[in-house]
């Protein structure tokens, strides 16, 4: 009887590689020379300042599963000074299986290393350079203990695990890129992080332009937006532009946030809907996008 190979390719089952063992966003970092002003914005959005860094002017904000770091350390905040003093999203930390291995893997593929500035007894969190002077950190100790216990001191009397307003969680990041740069940034995110491009007919929220990618773990999305060719002066530097927050009930969240003083973009073409809403930009650069989150994981 002739040997028959098993029919393993019949249904083209996708492999969904996840070389780094990505498992979501551990924290997002803003750099700013105006930490208190940004703090007020974050508190209106439901974040609570829970801890301060031991050696630098850095504050940890938290709500629910979201950690957000505001970095006003002079050397780091200088980056935001280059954009007229406006706060910038200076880093995104990914949860990975093994931080050192993930870092080495990215370096061997051509990522730029970022020198650590950890002080004695502080955690060295490996990082690579991202778009526009931002950084991607790799964190592997998020199950057994909190990295913040090492570098941060809790603010006395503050609830360390404040619940999330309206059950919000990180949904994704919007990255502004240069004209005709989509293919290049897609290649970057595919090669280093195994992100997957989402077909154009799948969109979330109310700002669907650009190219949407998913993390291989499916727990957050990444949106690449080129300049609008109709606008002649829409050619700012490449950057991580805003954070998307996923939640089950957008209208309820909009009402609650409005009561806390948050204003939303409300025009004929762009206004709060059941699918999503966009907060009005404050401090020159900071806005959040609310996105109705249908299910977990987001895509894959």
């Amino acid at each position: 009887m002739p040997h028959q190979a098993p029919a393993i390719d019949r249904e083209a089952v996708p492999q969904m590689p996840n070389r780094l063992g990505l498992e979501g966003i551990e924290f997002i970092e803003y750099a700013t020379t105006r930490p208190q002003a940004l703090g007020h914005v974050l508190e209106a959005m439901g974040f609570r300042a829970v801890a301060r860094h031991r050696s630098r002017e850095v504050v940890l904000y938290r709500q629910g599963r979201m950690n957000l770091v505001v970095n006003a350390h002079a050397a780091d905040a200088r980056v935001s000074a280059t954009v007229d003093g406006h706060p910038v999203i200076s880093a995104v930390a990914f949860r990975v299986k093994d931080a050192q291995t993930a870092h080495q893997s990215c370096i061997s593929l051509g990522a730029w290393d970022v020198a650590s500035h950890a002080q004695a007894m502080e955690l060295h969190i490996p990082a690579i350079q991202g778009p526009g002077g931002s950084r991607f950190y790799f964190v592997d100790r998020w199950r057994e203990f909190s990295i913040y216990d090492v570098d941060f001191v809790p603010i006395p009397g503050v609830e360390q695990q404040p619940p999330a307003l309206c059950d919000m969680g990180y949904f994704g990041i919007v990255q502004y890129i240069g004209a005709s740069r989509t293919r290049e940034w897609v290649a970057y995110l595919e090669t280093l992080f195994n992100f997957i491009t989402i077909p154009d007919d799948k969109r979330f929220g109310i700002l669907p332009s650009g190219t949407l990618m998913s993390s291989p773990c499916g727990s957050f999305l990444w949106q690449l937006v080129e300049p609008d060719p109709r606008l002649e002066d829409d050619a700012g530097p490449e950057c991580l532009q805003r954070v998307g927050l996923g939640l089950p009930d957008v209208p309820a969240a909009v009402a609650q946030l409005q009561a806390r003083g948050v204003e939303f973009v409300d025009s004929a073409t762009l206004h709060p809907e059941d699918r999503g809403a966009l907060t009005r930009s404050v401090l020159g650069s900071v806005s959040f996008e609310l996105v109705h989150q249908p299910r977990q994981p987001l895509y894959v």
Partner: protein, 294 residues
């Protein structure tokens, strides 16, 4: 559209300071310049001074050259070349150049495995990507493994990375006697730079002859014995849909001892030959007609 639009000179063609070279190009009507790393580091004001001079000249950088003997090395040699590449990329970015030129390796220490060469170039392209720089890979006609554009294109295809493309140099194509017919296999969007020059003899069979000619006796397009071929090459590239830049990569010992304006005028004559006699490009309308239309 500027009259000499898409054509420019390389700084390597002329003697003198960077500032004098930029001024001569500007006076001859060019609006772009292919920069050499040596121009920057040798500037009295250092790299920052050179960057300032380029910006003040109003000339757009065509690209930045040149990273040599990069691909195919291993161990410490690879790490060393990665460091060199990073420094080159930083300089390239500082000048506002969007293209880094990389010449195929001549090193006996480099592997001849095309997939490994492709892997290293992919890594270089990844380093260049966040900086907004594209990498143009050019086959030197005396490259050890890659010495024809057909092979450099093969390596670029194997690497398959969007900001890695090919750099073409007419000298190397004519010196190696590679047929122009294979140009049709190239994707015009992945040709990141075309460098043009001619030379005075028909045969350069050995690597040594190619190196000597390439470094001392190239001439501008239309001045040498391969004018017909060069015209064919440019016409074919235009017909394929290439819309990138052409730069005159002319190493010539005579031009190194002539007044800069004399050399720049020879370059202008060459550009006009290509624009008017070869490509028959329509003459741009005077500025006042555009203002009236607006």
């Amino acid at each position: 559209m500027h009259k000499l639009d898409r054509f420019g000179m390389d700084t390597i063609t002329m003697a003198g300071t960077l500032d004098a070279k930029l001024a001569a190009m500007r006076n001859a009507g060019f609006d772009q310049v292919m920069l050499m790393a040596r121009d920057l580091v040798g500037h009295p004001g250092g790299v920052a001074g050179a960057v300032q001079a380029v910006q003040a000249s109003g000339l757009r950088p065509t690209g930045f050259q040149v990273l040599r003997d990069f691909e195919g090395l291993s161990g410490h040699l690879h790490e060393y070349k990665i460091d060199i590449a990073k420094s080159m990329l930083h300089m390239c970015q500082a000048t506002g150049s969007k293209v880094l030129l990389v010449c195929s390796s001549t090193s006996r220490h480099a592997t001849q495995d095309l997939d490994e060469l492709a892997r290293d170039l992919r890594k270089l392209a990844m380093l260049a990507l966040p900086l907004g720089i594209r990498v143009a890979y050019e086959g030197l006609s005396w490259g050890r493994t890659v010495n024809e554009y057909t092979t450099s294109w093969d390596v670029v295809c194997r690497a398959d990375f969007p900001n890695l493309g090919i750099g073409l140099d007419s000298f190397h194509i004519f010196a190696a006697k590679t047929s122009l017919s294979a140009l049709g296999d190239l994707d015009p969007d992945r040709i990141f730079l075309v460098q043009l020059s001619d030379f005075m003899w028909n045969e350069t069979p050995s690597f040594e002859e190619r190196i000597n000619t390439a470094r001392t006796f190239r001439v501008f397009p239309g001045e040498g014995v391969h004018s017909e071929q060069l015209a064919d090459m440019v016409i074919q590239l235009e017909q394929m849909g290439y819309r990138g830049d052409y730069s005159f990569e002319v190493f010539n010992d005579d031009y190194q001892q002539l007044p800069l304006d004399t050399v720049a005028q020879r370059a202008r004559k060459s550009a006009l030959w290509l624009i008017e006699d070869v490509l028959h490009r329509p003459v741009p309308l005077p500025a006042w007609t555009r203002q009236a239309a607006a």
